[in-house]
Subunit: 387 residues, 2 copies
Amino acid sequence: MSHLQQSFTVKFVYNVFFTGKLFESTNSLLTDFFTQQATGDTKKKLLFVVDSGVIDSHPDLSVQIKSYFSQHIDLVELIPDLLIIPGGEAAKNDPDLVEKIVEAVDTYGIDRHSYVAAIGGGSVLDLVGYAAAISHRGIRHIRIPTTVLSQNDSGVGVKNGVNYKAKKNFLGTFVPPVAVFNDSEFLYTLDDRDWRAGISEAIKVALIKDKAFFEWIEANAEALAARDMTAMSYLIHRCADMHLQHIAGGDPFEMGSSRPLDFGHWSAHKLEQLTNFELRHGEAVAIGIALDSLYSQQLGWLTEADTNRILATLRTLGFSLYQPMLDADNSAGVLKGLSEFREHLGGQLTIMLLKGLGVGVEVHEMDADRIRRAIATLREHELSTTV
Amino acid sequence: MSHLQQSFTVKFVYNVFFTGKLFESTNSLLTDFFTQQATGDTKKKLLFVVDSGVIDSHPDLSVQIKSYFSQHIDLVELIPDLLIIPGGEAAKNDPDLVEKIVEAVDTYGIDRHSYVAAIGGGSVLDLVGYAAAISHRGIRHIRIPTTVLSQNDSGVGVKNGVNYKAKKNFLGTFVPPVAVFNDSEFLYTLDDRDWRAGISEAIKVALIKDKAFFEWIEANAEALAARDMTAMSYLIHRCADMHLQHIAGGDPFEMGSSRPLDFGHWSAHKLEQLTNFELRHGEAVAIGIALDSLYSQQLGWLTEADTNRILATLRTLGFSLYQPMLDADNSAGVLKGLSEFREHLGGQLTIMLLKGLGVGVEVHEMDADRIRRAIATLREHELSTTV
């Protein structure tokens, strides 16, 4: 009975760039990146996978990309055909899309030193990141997030994934991208729902970590709702920075018991599923934040005044804080989200609640009746404001 | 134009245990392991996935496992049904097997803090490791390798994978196991081909890194061929140790240009595919070693005497060093293996050759005619010895 101990560390480094008009010939960010990455042996290939919604809003994107890289054919070999796939959470339910990307990797001979770049919302980034992570045990993956949500949260992190039997991110890996390019140009063409939805992740991280940031959002809620790009750029930068710090400072691949920043998320994941993903992730998170804030208030941890500030900020931004599926109170209902949330993260149930603005605390159980009372409050408020 | 830099390191630690009769009640290795892993919150589940070939040779295994864990129900919750899947490389071509394991993870509610343990040869470990790595972004994975090859090489490393369109390990990840238990008991029931096949990986690592180890294998080749367990235990321990050191000392997830220990492998992978995996991996590697040794000799890098010592050692062990598919000299033939090998590892073609016993050197091209001459030498020798 003997043993050998294996022990090593792996270092991961990547940059998150903030820019505009990434593919204009005067923007050298991408060429600088590929120049730095060049190792002098073989030329690398570059395959773009693009969200069909982005193509709809930017029909000239394909031409722009080809034009950009035609001036830099020595740096990287662009695969001229963009692979276009549908976006939105529903796309993550379709195993054929993963297969389609893997097949393209095979067909175009994209090797482990080559690149797959994804342009799109969080779902496309998740899907492409997953396909890239499992192909050849990991192809270099570049993310170009096009929504507020993906630019300030999911797109800058280290996770990817697809759904399995409609269970969110049941299949996935922890694999950092080699670079993230946040291009504000894409935000102008977002519809109002997508513009708004991403803001809820910033509110989430502010409420559990940074009261001053919450107060900034509160003070700028009307400007944000009116699509002020200066305010939005600050919000995205600050939120992305906090998200990156949480990953680096903790347990990046969540191997121990540390948790992601998931305040308001247990019910959000379930609501997305119960509405067949009609509710977008950020919209569901806004409801989840409202619900868990009310729950925190019931515990006596959050004052009524602070709770109302949170709800008022969410409403000023235009979020609807009640969804009829909240009342699906049966074995398949929202409360089931608690056990699914525990199962996905593993180990003991851990839920983030608030002990004040900017002060998150973890609990290991939630009371069903108290959750029902919080839901009732949201329902009553919705009825009173819509009459 | 600004950027945020993300930078973090992730530490991976696991033990490779060498034992016998792992599931006898007097063997405390597994209970010690689970005791050390216990974190005091929820009880972890444990799902076993077992190679059907192992069950055939050890029909009492299921009873043994149940009996072992029935004495330790406080430590871990055993899923009573073993999931039994076919082994051998062909199993890695079947996507339904990955699906079957993922489905079991879902059905039994195996979370990220629970365990999936694989018992079997390298293919089953690769398959289960892959399914565990992608489920919930990574379930804790225990390996119990049952063949020489998996105990001294693949099973102790950090890779997993399955084939895609018969391309070897086209899909996979770099994810270390949480523990490896090498149980010598399983080696007694191996057929001679599997006993022998695993030895070629030890010859491979000895030839490129450690002349003394090669000379030990040469001196013990008859004992190994005669199934001497003491010799085999030493060989496995030394080979596993060198494999672990190479991983930890280099670039564990092969993110840069460093290579795995793959002397003799470019043709081996292709031969496996060309024979529809009739040829086992270790058998193909033995041929690959012979081929690249002869090639090294042709370059004047290896003396005829040293080349003959290598070929003689392989033959004493019982390896056949010629396979008719070596002569499949067309666009789908063995030479195609060079470009596929480059593509799978990415970047520039890099092939390990020998500049002496224990001295591996990397080259970036191979000459087709010289390869054909090395094949001809193997063919002629085969004909002369079988007449």
